[in-house]
């Protein structure tokens, strides 16, 4: 994935730093709570939400199971409609394809619609190296780009910035990228939006090459779909002569009709609207309207490896709504940067380690960046059981096992630093299989309960640093049952 994140500290260290930033915490708390309540109201408007969610889950699971068929069908449809399809096994291939396509136009600048896939592969950096300047046009992406910052949210990459900080960035940086911020620009959101409108308009009007992602691709018709709010998407999709869309292979859906599910669930889950202001669909090229040349780059970059994991593959259902970020107690406090990936929050904690593999410390720590409260699963419009995948990946980190990397099956070794956990789990398994041992152990624990420390010593210290040790009861359930046969526990305290 993007080089931007290389060398990130593991989640606990990054999170500790973020949690100490009072402004960041206030910004995140304000934004996530605002959207959380709105989403709940937007979802409550639809009586059939559960059925839509189930249909979304099934469509995605079905498509993933037959992904090869649908990708080939998509390629045929797009080609028949006048587009050209390219395949990229990894980030480097995708970047090379796009760079070559831009070079072939002779242009030195491109306008971009917000796209997670191009962030994932670090396309802007790759284009920069080739002497091509990429202008981000989504307001939040513009804030991130001007502030030389990193995105911290899927939908609103600048969610960690408040209006005061955004105003300061605009006043300071806009002149270096083109039209300066208007004289006397204040921090009112309406004025900031107006400043972005003026700054970007000259770029839209002269742009010859646009780069986008897509929310959906329809195999049956070859149609691509982009949902957006500001109109920057429409600008990039319709004004340039050449359009290049870089899209993850899991974004394909079988039929046009399938959109009826996602066009209802995605806007309500992401911006909490009945419908986002603008949705564009296009099928290849259209004579006299929009780009004359259309390229679709289909991106794997770890997706087929993720598909090979029967539990983990459900992460590929994700439609990038970001509802799971907005409800997550860990995200709310730690912020998006701590996740060390363009995919932060609960979905990032299961997607990044699967797309990138668990070679780095940050990726091995991400499955642990959760309290397993399950709020993310509840709001997910495609019913990704994020806690299930988190636990599955924790096991992978602690125990090692077989995974697929770059298409090849390999065995990963148990990660360092989990030896105490493994030993504790093995001891527990041993004791649970031996009732006599278990009883003796429980009685011993009950008898010495006044002496138990609040923090574990030795290898257990890290574990108990962020957890309360449970209080051991005076009597075990088994002893209580044998003594009373389940009768009223007279005189007993809890």
């Amino acid at each position: 994935m993007s080089g931007t994140f290389v060398g990130m500290p593991a989640f606990p260290a990054a999170a500790r730093e973020a949690v100490g930033d009072a402004t960041l915490r206030a910004n995140l708390r304000h934004a996530t709570h605002t959207i959380r309540d709105k989403r709940a109201r937007a979802v409550a408007e639809l009586d059939d939400w559960a059925a839509l969610r189930e249909a979304g889950r099934r469509i995605k699971d079905h498509t993933l199971r037959h992904l090869d068929t649908y990708l080939v069908q998509l390629e045929e449809s797009v080609t028949a409609a006048g587009g050209t399809v390219h395949w990229a096994a990894d980030a480097d291939e995708a970047n090379a394809i796009v760079t070559e396509l831009v070079r072939a136009t002779g242009e030195r600048e491109v306008v971009k619609v917000k796209s997670m896939a191009t962030q994932e592969i670090g396309l802007n950096e790759a284009l920069e190296e080739a002497g091509i300047r990429a202008y981000e046009t989504d307001l939040a992406e513009l804030i991130v780009q001007l502030g030389k910052d990193r995105p911290s949210h899927i939908l609103v990459p600048a969610i960690h910035r408040n209006r005061g900080e955004i105003g300061a960035i605009f006043r300071r940086e806009m002149a270096g990228w083109g039209r300066p911020a208007p004289e006397g620009l204040t921090d009112s959101p309406a004025e900031l939006a107006e400043a972005a409108r003026l700054h970007l308009r000259e770029k839209f009007l002269r742009a010859k090459v646009g780069i986008s992602g897509a929310n959906f691709m329809v195999a049956e018709t070859g149609t691509l779909v982009v949902l957006e709010s500001e109109g920057n998407g429409r600008m990039c999709l319709t004004l340039p002569e050449t359009l290049i869309s870089v899209v993850g292979i899991e974004k394909v859906v079988p039929t046009w009709r399938d959109l009826e599910v996602f066009l209802q669930t995605l806007p309500r889950s992401s911006t909490a609207e009945r419908m986002n202001p603008y949705t564009s669909t296009w099928t290849g090229t259209t004579d006299g309207d929009g780009p004359k040349t259309f390229h679709l780059v289909l991106l794997d970059n770890g997706r087929t490896d993720t598909l090979a994991d029967e539990v983990g593959r459900q992460a590929l259902r994700c439609i990038r709504c970001s509802a799971c970020l907005n409800v997550c107690p860990v995200y709310e406090r730690a912020g998006g940067h701590a996740y060390g990936s363009v995919y932060p929050g609960p979905i990032g904690a299961i997607l990044s380690p699967q797309l990138r593999g668990m070679g780095s410390e940050i990726d091995r720590s991400l499955p642990f960046a959760s309290s397993l409260c399950g709020a993310c699963y509840e709001v997910c419009p495609v019913a990704i059981d994020i806690p299930e995948v988190l636990v599955h990946l924790r096991e992978r980190v602690a125990e090692g096992g077989e995974v697929v990397r770059n298409g090849a099956r390999i065995t990963v070794r148990p990660a360092k630093g989990h030896a105490a956990e493994r030993a504790a789990m093995r001891a527990a398994a041993w004791a649970f299989r031996r009732p006599g041992v278990l009883r003796t152990g429980q009685r011993l624990a009950s008898g010495t309960r006044r002496l138990h420390p609040r923090r574990l010593p030795g290898p257990g210290r890290a574990w108990s640093a962020s957890r309360e040790l449970p209080e051991v009861p005076r009597e075990s359930f088994r002893d209580w049952w044998q003594r009373t046969q389940g009768g009223p526990a007279e005189g007993s305290t809890k």
């Binding site: 934004a31 959207i35 408007e45 639809l46 009586d47 059939d48 059925a51 189930e54 249909a55 099934r58 469509i59 079905h62 993933l64 199971r65 037959h66 992904l67 090869d68 990708l71 395949w87 990229a88 096994a89 307001l139 939908l155 609103v156 955004i166 959101p189 309406a190 939006a193 972005a196 409108r197 970007l200 308009r201 709010s229 500001e230 109109g231 429409r234 999709l237 319709t238 004004l239 079988p254 009709r257 959109l259 009826e260 066009l263 911006t271 009945r274 419908m275 202001p277 603008y278 564009s280 099928t283 309207d289 929009g290 289909l298 490896d305 598909l307 090979a308 593959r313 697929v404 298409g407």
Partner: protein
Amino acid sequence: MSSRERVLARVQRAVGERPESAAEAYVREVPRTYLVEHGARTTAETVDLLAENLADYRALVHRTDEEELPYLLMRLLAEAGPDTVLVPPGLPPEWLAAADPVRLHDRAVSTPQELDRVGAVVTGCALAVAETGTIVLDGSPDQGRRRITLIPDHHICVVRVPQQVVASVPQALSRLDPRRPLTWISGPSATSDIELDRVEGVHGPRTLQVILVE
């Protein structure tokens, strides 16, 4: 091996053997137990809902009939005050029969910079979706190329009710042609990028007026 072959081979290895074809499995595996329409409404109520939801997302809604339409358009354009109004090739000429601004036909203004100097655009639409407050353009002659409803700052869209109104998203998709470039518009352009709060008016037209014509 090409990247195409490599990716497809990886997919096949990842998912393993499949006893039935994608087409067979699709019918069985994708349930359609969700609603085609939310709630039961008369045609008139569906049109009312459209008006309500359009207004909820800050589109300015006007209701009139065929006869009054030219005078309403005259008034709306006079109030907004543009010198010029852009007209797609197939717009019924009588709509703007009473309007003052100079009519510019699309194609006469070819570059984006020229479009940027036009004050307003008047179009029809392919259909409108009541439950979401959405109008959909499909590039038909009364709507024109996508860019003409994007660059001018003021878009006036005429919806024929009730025939162009559907209740829901599923009904809309089944009536639309995916081969045409579609633009779904729900209110004027907006952003939630500053503190996740909605602000109207970014790159698309900042004023969206929708006229429901009976």
